[in-house]
């Protein structure tokens, strides 16, 4: 279905249109009280209008900011829509950020209202209320535990929806007033360094990019997507909200965090985005579960997995495949692939994306071989996501695909630059940062180092600023090495060092689940993470993986110096609550290298163990400290020559 | 009304009642020790009797036959403990009950497969038609002897319970399994003992019934007779079993003679049950049974 997005140039207008053309069709479902409660496009729109009145009454005007904090809930999406109707700017925040992170954002954004999910968030806001003079009201979606609050500024969304008073503006006019260059939404990038920056995206940005994406994938009103990505992340706003607006498909909100997988299975989305770690997690889990299967079953499984590896991708890419192979694959599909996808809830997936980090080629190909059309895209909040994207039949696990239609990519001294319709309007209240990022010709600096390969695919190597030099003068791309390590499945995180050093070393975080099950199978006794991480058997396990990586690296002319000479396994998991990871779980290199400085020194002072004590934050927010005496292990490295030999 | 006749019927009832008690005894033993209502007791009676009579027919002397049969019953007991009870230990009583129904079928089948299903005459050297005369009442001698045998067995058993270690252990088990273990005899051994003893009782009952009715499949149905006896006497008391037997015995005889006529006779099949039901409604745990208290 092609629609005229010249006339329908803002979300409020599209929504109004959807309410008419998709009347009675589901716009959003939420699993609540055991069933999937439907909100149709028309009553989503009606509710949005009611809520808009309510917001207007509590003083929300054109250009004002309204903070949105919480898990993916229909009411919060509703709030975004209502704000947009009034021409206000929604500012979603990560629901798990701590109070002062939120405080910074609300302060910086000068938010007038906040719409939050539940008591937890309300408490967070009340705690910092004094510091936010501009914040007039807080609205909550889930009343649980909030009845007794007699704060003057806290209200339930329901109350608004029930008793909204007449207002002196005609919302229909308000909708007409919205124009394509208005700011649609403001998203704070978590930023691996420094304070988060508010990225301003116009309706034009989002709609132009998204409509193209919908064209490419032929999304239609019958598609299903599960909304589980943080609302503050650009992905959720594009893959769920924007695309559902444009193609009229339904957003499904899971019942709760711990029912996500169940709910995924029930819905069976046709359109699924997940960051690599989710895909990898699924795969490890799957393999772990299969370990306990009966011999016969395991044999069948492995046999058909081989078959899939051999033919799956070719079949998916519509290449010529011998009839026998097709038959065999078909049988495999009935016996293994089908049920497997069914168990993962991926049976109906038409299009699957991953992005944000590099993904292990094996993992990537595994899913494709099952017939899941998994593709990599490369993007940024600043680009309204899409910079490059794999296309059907043109997929390469080592790249992030060719440039997205309408986007130009150039590489200047190793760094990737792009320009296109999705390029953001600038950082909120941060001119110089904006200037730094967008140059006069409109090229946006990604901060990523990459190359364009022979068939026009973009290949990302690392964060540009992280790419350093070894004393040998050779290039040192930590992220590239770390990813190679992480692909093995038993390494959760890795942090490589080597800039201005003689050789490369790295910290390892073992993947507890995977290693634990390995330990069980090889009956290695352990009392907990720290203990397990310290075990010499585990060290050897990791060492063998690193050795593989070293061999691999040694074949690469530019990177063979980057082989890992020494490593240690950290006694704690790197954690966002300790600031070691970003909210999107990227390692904060700088912070880590200073917090664990002594360990790094130990690497290069040829010590073979090092005692360390670190402060940690527990689940419940309490602080504590754990200490351990970490063993440092040496690795042997390979030269180009003995590869040839 | 002819009082002599009444007396005759009454005593006759008492005596046949003793035989019910004999069968009931087997139930009580096992129930006391393992809380299992052993529906297979009837089949055990049949099996014992058949084995015994066939051995005699093979020309084996009486005592030897008794001995061999006993050994076989013990083996059976051990087998049951191993194959049936052990896996079902601390299951619902109702499950165990149904298991013994299965066991009942199995043993019945086995008994007739190993031996055969013909009717065998078992002669214990007692004339079945001779009778004592008391006034105008005739008391069947056979019944009297049977009663004596039964009485003797009961006496032996109660002595056994009172004065042997095993016996005491058994009593202990009945009260409380932990206590039994503290006596120092593993539960399983105890069960084997109990089932063996039940086997012995079965043998005696089988012999007596057999020589009265002839050894045949029908014997196994005396178990069904014994159930109301238990209900009335209570599952956990030996004296109860005796008394219950007597009550049922003369109850059904009198009912048959004095009521049967009006309702077309053959009421002794169900009369004991109605009696039992009556008792149940008034005193669910039977006359001598210990009260079952449920903890809230």
């Amino acid at each position: 279905m092609t629609r005229d997005f010249v006339a329908l140039d803002t979300f409020p207008k599209i929504l109004r249109d959807n309410a008419a053309i998709f009347k009675g069709r589901p716009s959003i479902r939420e699993k609540e009280y055991g069933i999937w409660q439907i909100t149709t496009w028309n009553n989503f729109f009606d509710k949005a209008l009611l809520l808009a009145e309510g917001f207007y009454n509590s003083g929300l005007r054109r250009g004002d900011k309204i903070a949105i904090i919480g898990d993916n809930r229909p009411n919060l999406y509703l709030a975004i829509a209502s704000a947009q109707i009034l021409g206000a700017i929604p500012v979603p925040c990560y629901q798990d950020s701590v109070a002062d992170e939120i405080q910074y954002i609300l302060e910086h954004a000068e938010a007038k209202l906040a719409v939050v999910e539940n008591q937890e968030q309300v408490d967070k806001l009340l705690e910092i209320k004094e510091k936010l003079p501009l914040l007039k009201n807080i609205f909550y979606s889930d009343p649980r535990g909030l009845e007794k609050y007699n704060e003057k500024i806290v209200f339930s969304l329901e109350t608004i929806l029930k008793n909204s008073k007449e207002i002196d503006v005609d919302l229909d006019q308000e909708i007409n007033k919205t124009s394509k260059d208005d700011i649609s939404i403001m998203l704070y990038t978590s930023g691996t360094t420094g304070r988060p920056k508010g990225v301003l995206l116009s309706y034009n940005n989002i709609i132009s990019v998204t409509s193209v994406a919908c064209e490419i994938e032929k999304t239609n009103p019958d598609d299903e997507v599960v909304a589980y990505l943080p609302m503050a992340w650009v992905g959720d706003n594009i893959f769920c909200v924007a695309q559902s607006y444009i193609s009229g498909f339904c957003i499904n909100c899971p019942e709760s965090r711990d029912t996500l997988t169940l709910d995924m299975r029930e819905i069976g989305p046709t359109y699924y985005f997940a960051p690599p770690r989710v895909w990898e997690g699924m795969l490890t889990q799957l393999m772990v579960r299969m370990q306990d299967a009966s011999k016969v079953k395991l044999w069948v499984f492995n046999f058909f997995m081989k078959t899939a590896k051999k033919w799956g991708n070719l079949i998916l890419d519509k290449e010529k495949v011998p009839f026998a192979a097709r038959m065999l694959y078909g049988l495999g599909y009935f016996l293994i692939y089908g049920p497997l996808k069914n168990n993962l809830g991926l049976t109906r997936v038409r299009m699957a994306y991953t992005a944000g980090e590099a993904m292990g080629p094996d993992t990537f190909l595994f899913y494709r071989s099952l017939g899941i059309n998994l593709k990599v895209l490369y993007g940024q909040t600043e680009a309204t996501v899409f910079v490059s994207l794999h296309r059907d039949g043109d997929v390469d696990p080592n790249t992030v695909g060719p440039a997205f239609p309408g986007v130009d990519i150039k590489i200047t001294d190793g760094e990737v630059f792009y320009k296109g319709p999705g390029v953001f309007k600038g950082y909120y209240k941060n001119e110089e940062a904006t200037k730094e990022t967008i140059d006069k010709e409109g090229w946006v600096k990604t901060g990523d180092a990459g190359v364009i390969d022979s068939n026009g695919h973009l290949k990302i190597i690392d964060r540009a600023k992280d790419v350093g030099k070894l004393n040998s003068g050779n290039m040192f791309a930590p992220k590239y090495i770390e990813n190679k390590l992480k692909f093995c499945g038993i390494i959760k995180e890795a942090v490589a060092f080597g800039d201005n050093k003689d050789f490369v070393t790295c910290f390892i975080n073992i993947d507890l689940e995977a290693v634990a099950s390995w330990a069980e199978r090889n009956n290695v006794a352990y009392s907990g993470y720290i203990d397990l991480a310290g075990q010499s058997t585990v060290y050897n396990l990791i060492a063998s993986e690193i050795d593989k990586v070293n061999r691999d690296l040694s074949q690469d002319t530019e990177l063979n110096d980057s082989q890992i000479k020494r490593f240690l396994i950290l006694h704690k998991e790197l954690d966002a609550d300790d600031g070691e990871l970003t909210r999107t779980n990227k390692v904060r290199r700088g912070l880590i290298s200073e917090r664990y400085g002594m360990l790094v020194d130990a690497f290069y002072n040829k010590e073979n163990h090092c005692f360390i004590e670190t402060e940690v934050t527990f689940e419940d927010g309490r602080k504590g400290s754990i200490s351990a005496d970490l063993k440092i292990q040496d690795m042997n490295v390979y030269d180009l020559k003995d590869q040839v030999a | 009304m002819d009082w002599w006749f009444f007396l005759e019927v009454f005593i006759g009832g008492l005596l046949s009642g003793v035989m019910y008690s004999l069968v009931a005894l087997g139930f009580v033993l096992i129930f006391k020790a393992s809380g299992v209502f052993n529906f297979a007791q009837g089949a055990m009676v049949l099996f014992a009797a058949l084995t015994f009579v066939r051995l005699l027919e093979m020309g084996i002397p009486m005592l030897a036959a008794v001995g061999v049969t006993m050994i076989i019953m013990v083996i059976l007991a051990i087998a049951i403990e191993r194959i049936v009870l052990r896996p079902l230990v601390n299951q619902d009583l109702i499950i165990l009950f149904m298991a013994t129904i299965g066991l009942n079928y199995f043993i019945e089948g086995m008994a007739q497969l190993v031996w055969d299903s013909k009717v065998h005459v078992l002669d214990l050297g007692i004339d079945e038609y001779d009778a004592f005369e008391i006034g105008e009442a005739f008391i069947n001698k056979f019944d009297v002897y049977a009663a004596l045998i039964a009485g003797g067995l009961v006496l032996v058993l109660s002595l056994f319970f009172r004065y042997t270690v095993i016996g005491r252990a058994l009593r202990a088990v009945a009260d409380d399994h932990q206590a039994a273990l503290s006596v120092g005899i593993p539960l399983r051994t105890i069960w084997i003992y109990v089932w063996s003893t039940a086997g012995l009782v079965a043998l005696v009952a089988g012999a007596v019934w057999g020589s009265k009715l002839g050894v045949q499949f029908a014997i196994s149905s005396v178990a069904l007779k014994a159930i109301p006896v238990l209900i009335i006497g209570g599952f956990t008391s030996v004296p109860g079993a005796i008394l219950g037997g007597l009550i049922v015995g003369c109850g059904e005889k009198l009912a048959e003679v004095y009521l049967g006529g009006f309702v077309g006779g053959a009421i002794e099949n169900w009369f004991p049950y109605m009696l039992a039901l009556l008792v149940l409604m008034i005193r669910p745990e039977g006359i001598f049974g210990e009260k079952i208290i449920e903890r809230v």
């Binding site: 055991g34 069914n342 | 299965g102 497969l113 009421i267 099949n269 449920e294």
Partner: protein
């Protein structure tokens, strides 16, 4: 392996609580009904229909009845055959006294009479439990058997003491050949099974199971034990009565009270123990098992011994095998074939994963 549940999400309680929520199960059910109503009639010969399928269905119904009482409500009964007898004789008598009554009405009447008697003998269940209750039901067994044997009125004073079922006609068609009988029984059984399933998943079924699983707790949440148990007795006996009527009218034709002796009661108890306590499918699986096993034994027996083996011996072996199976199931799978079926299904749903 066959399951593809992804995408089968429920948007209303109506859908979520439907009798077969999973699409693939609905398919299977339809397939089975087609098989029973179309395929079997097309291919089965009279021997199969008359002497295997029809008896099987009739006994399944009885087993279903007992399963309501023992499987769902947890009240054991050894008097099933008696309740069947009541059904049979009541139906018969109604038609004898009031000839123009259609037999279906007579069947219902039989069912209700059985229900009445069942409730009567269920009264003790308020005071007594477990095998004490079994005794009460045994009383019913013996009493009723005796009643029908010794009062000619019930057999309409027939000299032989047997009843002969009047011919059945439905909408003008005589139901006299195996096929028509098969359809009749099948329809009745299917309907009853459906009703029981519905009861089981409704408030009544939960009350029954609550009483079965933990009667003290059941009382504490306001469930009236007496009403619940008696209702179970009523429904159960109704079904048994109906089964009895079918047994008399459709299977045997001429019946003597001994056709409903205690052995029959045990047979049906075995069916649900082996088939599976507390499940509708269990009744059918168990009945099938109990019907087919003897036939199997016979054939196997004659195969091995070349036909020299005596029927008597077979009968004894049958006893042993049944006994052994009962014990086996109680030990290995107290929930019977139905549970095995369930676990198999679960495995299929999880396939290829082990859990």
């Amino acid at each position: 392996m066959f399951y593809r549940e992804a995408g089968q999400f429920k948007t209303s309680y109506k859908k979520d609580q439907s009798i077969l929520p999973i699409f693939q199960d609905r398919i299977a059910m339809v397939a089975m009904l087609i098989f029973c109503f179309i395929v079997i009639p097309l291919f089965a010969n009279d021997y199969w229909l008359a002497s295997i399928l029809v008896p099987f269905l009739a006994l399944s119904l009885a087993a279903l009845g007992l399963n309501v009482l023992t499987g769902y409500a947890g009240q054991i009964s050894l008097g099933t055959a008696a309740f069947m007898a009541v059904g049979a004789f009541a139906a018969f008598n109604l038609q004898v006294r009031v000839p123009e009554i259609p037999f279906l009405i007579a069947f219902l009447w039989g069912g209700f009479c059985a229900a009445g008697v069942g409730i009567l003998f269920g009264l003790p269940s308020l005071r007594i439990k477990g095998f004490y209750l079994a005794v009460a039901t045994l009383a019913a067994q013996f009493f009723i058997e005796w009643l029908f044997t010794h009062f000619d009125w019930f057999t309409n004073y027939s000299t032989s003491g047997v009843i002969t079922a009047p011919p059945m006609t439905l909408l003008g068609m005589a139901i006299d050949n195996p096929l028509s009988k098969y359809f009749l029984v099948l329809s009745i059984v299917v309907i009853c099974a459906f009703f029981v399933r519905n009861l089981a998943r409704s408030e009544i079924g939960r009350a029954w199971m609550a009483v079965r699983d933990m009667d003290i707790a059941a009382e504490a949440i306001g469930i009236n034990l007496m009403k619940t148990k008696l209702l179970a007795f009523g429904v159960s006996s109704f079904l048994c009565g109906l089964a009895g009527a079918l047994w008399a009218y459709v299977v045997l034709g001429t019946v003597e009270p001994q056709a409903f002796d205690i052995a029959r009661s045990f047979e049906i108890l075995f069916m649900i123990v082996i088939g599976g306590l507390g499940s509708v499918s269990g009744a059918f699986l168990g009945a099938g098992f109990m019907i087919l096993l003897p036939i199997l034994l016979n054939n196997v027996g004659s195969l091995i011994t070349g036909g020299t083996i005596s029927t008597e011996t077979i009968a004894h072996i049958e006893y042993m095998v049944f006994g052994a199976f009962i014990i086996f199931f109680l030990i290995v799978e107290p929930n019977g074939l139905a549970r095995l079926w369930q676990t198999g299904k679960e495995k299929l749903r999880l396939w290829p994963f082990p859990y």
